[in-house]
C-alpha cells in the first residue's frame, strides 16, 4: 500500500512498440493487402491518404496532450490531491474525486497508487470508484492522446459529454452496495 506518494512512482517502461501493436500491425498489413488485391491500387491509396491525413490532423493535439500531462504531473502535488478526497465525504466528496479523476494525467501505474492512497487517507469506496471511473471515461489526457486520433473530435466530445454523470452514478452505486453489507475495509492497512 502506498501511503506516501513522493517521489512519483516510476513511469511504466514505454517502448515505441509492444505486442499489442505488433498484432494490430499484422492485421493492418493483411487488411491493406486485401484492399489492394480486391479493390485495386487507386482505392488502396484513397484509403491510405484519408487515414494518414486524419492522423496528421490529430498530431498537434496529441503533442499538446502529452505536454499537458507532463506539466500537470510535475506541478500538482499528489499528496494534496489525496488529502482533499481523504477529508471529504458525502456528495461533495464524489464530485471532488470525479474532478481529480478528470484532472490527473497518467496511466494505470500512476492512477491506482493514488486511488490506494485515497483509501488509506480515509476516503470511502464510493469516492475511490468515482475517481477511477472518471479517470477512465472522462480523463482528458487519455481522450486527447489516444481517442482523438482514432475517432475524431466530434465523436469524442459527444462520448465524453454523455459520460460526465457516470463517475457519480458509479460512486453512488458503490455506496449502496457497501451499505447493503459489502465489506472492503478489512483489507486496507
Amino acid at each position: 500500500m502506498h501511503t506516501t506518494l513522493s517521489p512519483p512512482p516510476p513511469s511504466r517502461r514505454r517502448r515505441a512498440f509492444d505486442w499489442s501493436t505488433a498484432i494490430i500491425a499484422i492485421l493492418a498489413f493483411a487488411a491493406a493487402a486485401t484492399v489492394y488485391l480486391r479493390d485495386g491500387r487507386q482505392h488502396f491509396f484513397d484509403v491510405l491518404v484519408s487515414d494518414v491525413s486524419l492522423f496528421g490532423e490529430m498530431l498537434p493535439k496529441v503533442l499538446a496532450g502529452c505536454l499537458i500531462g507532463a506539466f500537470v504531473t510535475l506541478l500538482l502535488p499528489r499528496e494534496m490531491v489525496a488529502r482533499w478526497v481523504g477529508h471529504e465525504s458525502g456528495f461533495t466528496g464524489l464530485l471532488i474525486a470525479a474532478f481529480f479523476g478528470f484532472l490527473l494525467p497518467g496511466g494505470p501505474i500512476t492512477i491506482y497508487p493514488v486511488a490506494s492512497a485515497f483509501l488509506v487517507m480515509g476516503a470511502d469506496a464510493g469516492a475511490v470508484v468515482a475517481f477511477i471511473v472518471s479517470w477512465t471515461l472522462i480523463g482528458y489526457t487519455r481522450a486527447v492522446v489516444w481517442e482523438l486520433p482514432f475517432f475524431g473530435t466530434d465523436f469524442v466530445i459527444w462520448r465524453i459529454v454523455a459520460a460526465i454523470p457516470l463517475p457519480i452514478v458509479a460512486g453512488l452505486l458503490a455506496r449502496i452496495v457497501v451499505r447493503a453489507g459489502y465489506q472492503y475495509r478489512d483489507e486496507i492497512k
Partner: protein, 164 residues
Amino acid sequence: MTLAINILLWGVVGVLAVIAATRGRVLLNDGVHVGVMEFVLLLPRIGIGVVGSGFVAEALPNEWIAPWLGPESGLLGIVIATLGGALTPGGPVVGFSIGAAALKSGAGAPQVIAYSTAWALYAIHRLVIWEVPMMPARVVWLRALVSLPLPFLAAGLAILLGRP
C-alpha cells in the same frame, strides 16, 4: 471545432509552461522533455492503429458488421458490444483500433460507445494485470460490479444527447 480544440489545448500548454517557468528553468525543461518523449514513443503505435483500423474497416464487408452492431441492432447490439469490450485483451491500440474499425465499417455510434466504455472500465485482463496488484482486491471487484451498467448508460445518454 478542431481549430478551437487546438487553440484551447495549446492555450493550456502555454499557461502550464509559464507556471512551470516561474518555478524554475529545470522544471520547464523537464516538462517539455517528458512530454515530447512520451509523444515520440506514442507516435508509431497510434499511427499503426489509426491507419490499420482504416484498412481493417475497408477490408471487412459491411454486411458482416451491420446486422450485429449497426444502428438498427438496438439493445442487442449494445449487449454484444459490451461483451466484446469486456473480452478484448491488450492495450489502448487494440481497443481503439477495433472500435474505430467497427465504426467505419457500419457499426452504430451508441454500440461503439458501449464497446469502448466496457473495454475501458472492465476488460478482464486489465482488472487482473493492473488493478488487483495495486488496489485492495475487494475494492477492485466493487468497482467492476458497479461499472457493469455504465456502458448501457453511456450508450443511452449518447442517444438522448443526439450525435453532434
